[in-house]
Amino acid sequence: MSHNRFTPLLRQFDRELDLPQPIKSRILIEIADDLDDLYTHFRQQGLSEQVAYARTQERLSPTLEILQQLRDIHQSPVQRFFDRIPRSLLSRWERACVLVILLLTVSLSIQQIESTSFFHQASEFIWPVMLAAISGFVLLLIKTYQILLKKEHSPHRIRSGVPMLLLSAGAVPLLSLLGVWVEFHRALLNLARDPHSGYLAVLNALLESSALMVAGLNLFLVLSILTFALLWRIGSIEEANANQLLDPSSE
């Protein structure tokens, strides 16, 4: 499919049509196809390239007002709601929401840890593990809000925060594993120092380490499933972006 002739126009529509993917791509592809076909039609009628281009543009190239109408038709109710709120207020409101979510997540996690005997059994390494998991969940919440609710699908911003999210998620099993080995090392040192009573330390280390590992792996499992779903969504948005006929080679 060749839309090179109209690429500058399509780029302009892309900038001005403030809609999430893949809706935006579909609209642009539809317009691009029609522009191409109508141009061919005019050329077949014997019009010169310039005249055919001008006439095609006159018929099918949407004005800012038309793009706004398309935006209104396809906007989700959530986006419409956010659009009504002034930008400055929205940004303050967002920050407050993120803070509330953060505090809620942290307090609920601490409550959960304190009320579960399982967490009491785990070694002290449960704290860095929990910290990594909580940061992962908070980042996931922020990215989900940006992508699914706020529809921030700009190619430059869509993957912002993802490396940090992957780092947090990856740190959970790694920290758990580190905790297990440190606990074992300590227990073995005790055993070496006092062979008669050291076996109790080994038993204790085994209990703490297994609890830590189970907690860490559970958290990692949940976090990785949610991260995978988010990355899948990002991937499909990026694919839609790529199919958007804004072929860089046409520049």
Binding site: M1, I27, I29, E30, E58, R59, L60, S61, P62, Q69
Partner: protein, 115 residues
Amino acid sequence: MAEFEIQNLTKQCNEILILSKLAQGTRHGYQLAMEIETDSDGFFRFNHGTLYPILHKLEKERLIKGVWKPEGLKRKRKTYSLTARGKKYLEQERKNWHDFFDRFFKVIGENPLQE
């Protein structure tokens, strides 16, 4: 008779033109624009992409259905067709437009003005 909102008359008119064309079979967006223009001897013309908001609105209202169909080797094109709901709506709207013009000419008169 359904009420016509005068300020929306052009919009309603454009919608009916598109629905009527789609009642004849599936069409691409630009085909609709060209055929309406040709059939009306250039009287009805969709300029500056005015066609797209109408098509997308009708699609949202499920009066028409847009389908991406393969055309050629790699190409996929969006074609529109009238839905059963759209057909029903079109029938009703045609009656409404007849009623509208009956009353309109009743008011303005059809005979030549006397000097």
